[in-house]
């Protein structure tokens, strides 16, 4: 079966799902490719653990509420990866203002996220697409 045909089939199946259950992600969405809600939860837990073991950026997070971060990070990722979520939290500027994050620390944190994606078995092509979504946020996060 060709990819197009497969996509069409899935799309039809999906439109049925939409009428049944309302809002779902399209099967080709990045949200779907990282394993939807359960996949994002696994990824975020792995990311939290990476940060927790890290010497370079841990100090930013030391007093941060883990549950609040986890919920906010998952829902933000879900929205950014075109999943069925409305992110209600503060925007990137509001969150990271005053932290004065250096370029080095930003890159290091991205490396921790990559390590987390490897850990939960997200494929490299999907990882690249995720990173491409996050990269433009850099200017709203660093040096503010």
């Amino acid at each position: 079966m060709s990819l197009v045909a497969r996509c069409q089939k899935v799309a039809i199946a999906l439109s049925v799902m939409i009428t049944v259950s309302g809002c779902q992600s399209t099967p080709t969405s990045l949200y779907h490719q990282v394993g939807e809600q359960a996949g994002l939860e696994r990824l975020t837990d792995a990311f939290i653990n990476q940060i927790g073991q890290d010497k370079v950026v841990f100090h930013y997070f030391k007093q941060t509420n883990v549950s609040h971060f986890r919920t906010g990070f998952i829902s933000h990722m879900c929205a950014v990866l075109d999943g069925p979520c409305q992110y209600q939290g503060d925007n990137m500027v509001q969150i990271h203002t005053g932290m004065n994050i250096s370029e080095y620390d930003f890159n290091h944190t991205v490396d921790l996220l990559i390590a987390a994606m490897n850990e939960v078995g997200i494929s490299h092509p999907v990882q690249n697409k995720v990173l491409a979504k996050l990269a433009p946020m850099r200017r709203n996060i660093i040096k503010i």
Binding site: K62, Q63, N65, T97, M99
Partner: protein, 216 residues
């Protein structure tokens, strides 16, 4: 040099004498609060049950956010008083209270001050920050100006007419906000009260979760 030293000493001795005589003249009562191990308890609130009439205008009190901590950790005010919540940190804080006498949430972004809040009911307000769970603070809202805090030695000097009082401490083994009532022992100028303190529950922070990887 020895001469100066001697002179300094006699000066201190003299002032101690003076302080002694003054406190005798005022005839105050001294209360000491200790915990179950006999250690002095600082920052216990003592509120007299015979309220004084307040004629001074109420100032706006301040509960600041400094280095991801409430500053002060415990603020005492009188009911009807306003409290400002500035943010001296460069980062944001989301300060909240679930306490029945004053539930609220204040999103404090750097450089955008919020209007002060008025605390109309007496009692205890516990403060937290949604973003930084390490932050815990308290506002004790007293009925009147007749409230006092114990010092590092667990001591507080109370007016001579003290007959009964409420006692509260944030780490007491009680419902948060629950205050105990005490009667001053007759004909005594000193009283010592023991309270049971508990270690506060660990916070939901990265620091707590990963303390084995980082020490303190």
């Amino acid at each position: 040099m020895p001469f100066y030293f001697k002179k300094g000493c006699s000066f201190i001795a003299l002032s101690m004498l003076l302080i002694g005589s003054v406190s005798i003249a005022v005839k105050a009562k001294t209360l000491t609060i200790v915990d179950q191990h006999g250690r002095p308890v600082e920052l216990a609130v003592i509120e007299l049950l015979q309220p004084v009439k307040n004629d001074k205008p109420l100032q706006v009190a301040v509960m600041d956010q400094v280095n991801k901590q409430f500053e002060p950790k415990l603020l005492t005010i009188v009911k009807g008083q306003q409290v400002a919540f500035p943010n001296s940190d460069d980062i944001r804080h989301h300060v909240y209270s679930f306490s029945p006498i004053k539930p609220f949430e204040l999103k404090l972004y750097a450089g955008t001050p919020k209007a002060p809040l008025t605390f109309e009911q007496s009692g205890v307000v516990v403060l937290g920050c949604n973003i930084h769970d390490s932050m815990v603070g308290y506002i004790y809202v007293a009925q009147s100006e007749a409230h006092f805090l114990t010092d590092v030695q667990g001591k507080v000097v109370l007016p001579d007419n003290t007959s009964s009082y409420l006692l509260w401490h944030p780490e007491q083994d009680k419902e948060l906000g629950e205050r105990s009532e005490h009667i001053w022992p007759q004909d005594n100028s000193h009283s010592k009260v023991e309270i049971e303190l508990v270690t506060p529950a660990p916070r939901n922070t990265f620091g707590e979760m990963f303390k084995d990887s980082h020490g303190n």
